[in-house]
Amino acid sequence: MPKRTDLKRVLVIGSGPIVIGQAGEFDYSGSQACKALREEGYEVILVNNNPATIMTDPESAARVYIEPLVPEIVEKIIVRERPDALLPTVGGQTALTIAVELARAGVLERYGVELIGASQRAIEIAEERLLFKETMEQAGLPVPQGGLARSLEEALEISRGLCYPILVRPSFTLGGEGSGVAHSEDELRSVAKRGLDLSPVHEVLIEESVIGWKEFELEVMRDRNDNVVVICSIENFDPMGVHTGDSITVAPAQTLSDKEYQRMRDWAIRVMRAVGVETGGSNIQFAVNPHDGRMLVIEMNPRVSRSSALASKATGFPIAKIAAKLAVGYTLDELPNDITRKTPASFEPAIDYVVVKIPRWNFEKFPGADTTLTTQMRSVGEAMALGRTFKEALQKAIRSLELGRLGLGGESERVLSAELIREYLERPNPERIFFIYRAIQTGVSIEELAHRTGIDPWFLAQIEEIAHQERTLRAHQGLEHIPGELLRQAKRFGFSDAVLAKIWNTSESAVRAKRLEYGIRPVYKKVDSCAAEFEAQTPYLYSTYEADECEAAPTARKKVIILGGGPYRIGQGIEFDYCCCHAALALRELGFETILVNCNPETVSTDYDTADKLYCEPLTLEDVLHIIEVENPEGVIVQFGGQTPLNLALALKEHGVPIWGTSPENIDVAEDREKFALILDELGVKRPRSGIASSAEEACRVAEDLGFPVLVRPSYVLGGRAMAICYDKSDLVHYIEEAACVSPAHPILIDEFLQDAIELDVDAVADGEDCVIGGILEHIERAGIHSGDSCCVLPPFTLSEALFEEVRHITRKLARRLNVIGLMNVQYAVQKEKLYVLEVNPRASRTVPFISKATGVPLAKIAAKVMAGLTLKELGFTQEPAVQGFHVKAPVFPFDRFFVDPILGPEMKSTGEVMGSGQTLGEAFAKTQLHLKSRLPTGGRVFISVNDRDKPAVVPIARALAELGFVIIATRGTAQALGQAGLDVIVINKVSEGHPHIADVIQQGQIDLIVNTPSGKRAHHDEAAIRIGAVKHRVPYVTTIEGAQALVEAIRTLKAGTLTVSAIEELQRRLCRYATNACRSSSDRLLKRGIGQGMPSVGPIT
């Protein structure tokens, strides 16, 4: 059946900010779907409030709405745009939830919008546990025993028919949030209670636990002719009980015989039919009892998912793209397989390699959080690696994680106690894989390991083979006498040069030299979806140590390699992938062959048609150097992928690699505190004074010299890790005791802390001559809160024009001094009208996509072209872009996953961001505060409790809230301050003052908004309890005075009901036109100058 012609306009809902459980994979699927629909001539209307996405680029859709992802706003867009259809399956749980709410409210029917891809009924069956269970039972498919409870009493009732452990899973939550396992009735009470609270429909599933069973997933696609194909099977290394997003996963399934696999496939098809997914992709999870093969259906997602993104990257089959085309009426046999171009999409990929994905966690950012992995996902990113064997892929995946471990093995012979090993084996935790390895090394048997971990013996045996190989390697004394065959064998087992260097007590470069002397190099194999049965047209490659054949086939064209950012983590997220993609697109426009290297399956950059060529490889020196050796590029770009590629810059340059843009030496200067301080002094630019200390006493002395408060951090960690503000000596002593060990080898850095300073973020592009500012952002929160965790506003709203001039002037001076070529980000603080430079990052920053969305100027593209040799003048980018209205970028935090005190500080904790635009600051800010799960209230009870410093400032805020109709509740101290100002306040007990206290009231759902600023010193138990309570009970809260001020403005706007929606194009129409012209004209000029070579073989990007 050909595509439908009765549809013209299709609304696509994105997944919004990056949160745990819903991350960059939805930008990948969403932008693929948008592209697919546009290819077919449909007018795409897109709504997504995550500015750091490729899908919100103007090229993705006819109309892009960067507006809040809540039903009432989407309804406004529907009213405005009148789409014929809504595709809800590429925007994660968020899009499904909004679609169902709109359908239930009759909005879709009222405006004649058809749900395509998944019907309301199918979504409901898949989402509502009981309905799903019934549907499965009707289809004759076994599911775990249990039932649905809407109250604690019902939960206990159901549990009586089951054996413990019992699994509790709330309906309609993201990433298994709120799920848990109860081993006793007591535990069941607390887990069920939390699940009921977290479920938006107050419903939990209580069922028999299949913890310890093997877990599998199938990625399935179905078309309107009822053709069903399985794209990929995935086996979880970690057994049931660990969320699949927190599991190491392997594709294809390794331990199923054909009989078992085909039965699973048959069931998957029956699930698709029973749920009624008419078109598109779904993910179906199964549990298999390892002892008797009993199989159960666990759940299904009638949409693209994290696993489908992984499956797409693992097989080369673009699930989201095909799903979009199936949704508009095509059948599988009508669509070509992109990779072979000759065979149809109606087949099941066969792969001839092993794919391993390992999650990346950020527990270190949340001290006190329990690191046990459970059914609730808490990883923030993942790395994927391909190898010809599981061993190779596993080793590559581990070194892709950038945890400082470049694979298994090579660790000192430090003996771990049997007790410790056992603890770390039985309790699923991020370190478990390393403890398994150590356990094997200390002689623990596979049987015992399997028993303790529930991990399949096949996987354990593979790890054992690696350990045995390490033993063989260690038996050889020193690198000098290593036979070539043994070295080759080591590489085939996935050992990196760095690990081999540790084993043989030598340097990585010595191992590399020895290896090259023997001619041992990796070869590159293609990901072709068909195990080489047909010729692949798409160059998507991975390295492996095979003897016979390399398929890299480097062309004679001029090439640029763009190094990606690796796994997402807090501080290095989707923004950097966005910049990498833009660099690839821009340089392709210039006629270069673009080559991307990345190992993060949740990205657009690892889509095989973003760049001309894709290498899925770890971003380590060894792996990157081999690619460079094969491809011999004109240049390598390290500026766009965040810290990961920057860390390689100097070493790459030492190997003679041409690094484009700002020189690695100057990048180093900017990152080295001492060198950088000298430069600032030389330029006569103010900076916070600083010192360094190697003992606690010295630290106190330095701090007293600088004057409290001070900003302290260990010298050996980057990115704000373990950074803190100390307000007095006792704070400092406490910090040194708790957070950092201080010694001459590990000194701590101490900076003057600019209290009550306003922070600015400036992004600019420089070409060595000129420097043009892309945007100046003012933070709402005062200095001291990590820039990634602050709300930023474009344009600034409190500062004088004179100060801006100074900012521009200093920015240009810095660019010239550091000879910046490409992007540069400068962070300033303004204290008492004085400007201080906090840091300079000569690279892409987190704020680049946001500024580009707000101004319509593709900064990353311009920077990439500058790095290729064009000047800003040639690109026509000579003036700081004008800004219309206000744009706010607000962070989104994962505290609801960790339940630690959600206060903000110098260490970044947010996982993502949303953007809101409006004619007033209040409107723009209000739009950033509308989330599916927590809306800013327009009335009700506000609880206010602030520290003494903030008491004067909170009065006008409280007054404004009272005027807006809020009832004010406060603890004694704050109440007194407010009462003196003439406000009516209800006084409530602190937690320490006994029941009923504030935490009780929060728990009872009687508080609608919380304003609570930390007392500055280490958080008191009381405050923490309030804030954690707010997180748990989804009460909107704010922990800074400035945030509260903005919130008041936002509430005012919401209350006035004047929120309007507009497509981003409308805001920046004028600027857009300019930007497009700049991009178009540049490639001609570059060609004239002989840079780049001819037009790319692949068609131009639309």
Partner: protein, 371 residues
């Protein structure tokens, strides 16, 4: 150490696994990611050295339940990695031990992807698999001197020599049934897979398996209600007796006839279609076939190096391969004769086309009732 020497002079090196020794055969590749045991024991692979494209083999061991015949039939087995340790609740022994027990010569740690690409480019060819010491050139010579797949009649080696009524355990046959009830199907054994017999049996049939060399007369004396021409190894064109038998059975118009794989080719040739050798064949569990009668896509299991072309007008094309457009099935426009090139019995592979057994068995039941 072990090596594979191809007739075109290319050498692939690896490590010996399974039995040691030297063997020659046609080198082919299979892209199925599971089902190595079914592949090893599929008689259609007789005479062939099979390279598995999925790198890990032996992960779930070997079990007596999953065999497709009494023993492995491949000449040799080429893998990237053979699991020393297997893991599956049904696993009984390791793949390596199984190969050794049945004296199947294997090689592992081969760049199987490079080998597959070589065969894809150059076509299936003869090879010599050896774990013996010797000059590689001698092994290349051996490969060149080995008979081609069309020069040897493998069917007569794999077919049964005596007719038998199949005797499954009750669990496999859905409970004991009287042998005298239901229609009677005669299977001509060109190298039949047990799964075909299981599917016939599961549909309440009486099944007699007869040797490939039986004449039409002998077969018809069994008073069949349906005849199935099974799968099997080799080049159909050299099976002149079988083609003649097939023609006589068709002309007798006595009962419905169904062909699978080699049986499909024999039936086609009997009708006057032509057979040709595919460059490297279809071997895998992911081949998309369009059923032109239902307009649905069936993902099917394949194992064939030859295919039919030039179907005569009396035959209607019913199945076509979506990858290369090759003929995957036909039926006679008037007679109850039909055949498929792929393996509806799967094993290994998806079950999408299983219903074809229902259709055949419905026809035979109709025949049994009419007579």
């Amino acid at each position: 150490m072990a090596l594979l020497a191809l007739e075109d002079g290319k050498i692939f090196r690896g490590r010996a696994c399974g039995a040691h020794g030297m063997v020659c055969g046609e080198v082919v590749f299979n892209t199925a990611m599971t089902g190595y045991q079914e592949i090893l024991t599929d008689p259609s692979y007789a005479g062939q050295i099979v390279c598995m494209t999925y790198p890990h083999m032996g992960n779930y061991g070997v079990t007596a339940e999953d065999v497709e015949s009494a023993r492995p039939w491949v000449q040799g087995f080429i893998v990237r990695e053979i699991s020393e340790r297997f893991s599956n609740w049904r696993g009984q022994m390791s793949l390596d031990r199984y190969l050794k027990e049945y004296n199947i010569i294997g090689i592992c740690e081969v760049d199987t992807r490079a080998l597959t690409r070589h065969i894809r480019e150059k076509g299936a060819m003869r090879g010599c698999l050896s774990s013996l010491d010797g000059d590689p050139h001698d092994f290349i010579e051996c490969a060149r001197r080995a008979p081609t797949i069309s020069e040897e009649n493998w069917v007569y080696r794999v077919s049964c020599t005596q007719p038998f009524t199949i005797d499954f355990s009750p669990s496999e046959g859905r409970g004991a049934r009287s042998e005298s009830q239901g229609p009677h199907i005669v299977v001509i054994d060109f190298g039949v897979k047990r799964s075909i017999l299981r599917h016939l049996r599961a549909r309440a049939q009486r099944v007699t398996v007869v040797p490939a060399f039986w004449s039409a007369e002998e077969i018809l004396q069994l008073k069949p209600d349906g005849i199935l021409l099974s799968n099997g190894p080799g080049d159909p064109a050299i099976l002149t007796n079988a083609i003649r038998t097939a023609r006589q059975l068709i002309e007798s118009e006595r009962c419905p006839i169904f062909g699978i794989c080699l049986g499909h080719q024999i039936l086609g040739l009997a009708f006057g279609a032509r057979a040709y050798k595919l460059k490297f064949g279809h071997r895998g569990a992911n081949q998309p076939v369009k059923n032109l009668l239902t307009n649905r896509i069936e993902i099917t299991s394949h194992n064939h190096g030859f295919a039919l072309k030039d179907l005569p007008d009396e035959l209607e094309l019913t199945h076509v391969n979506l990858n290369d457009g090759s003929i995957e099935g036909f039926r006679h426009r008037k007679l109850p004769v039909f055949a498929v090139q792929f393996h509806p019995e799967a094993s290994p592979g998806p079950h999408d086309a299983l219903s074809i057994f229902d259709q055949f068995c419905a026809l035979t039941s109709g025949h049994a009732q009419a007579h």
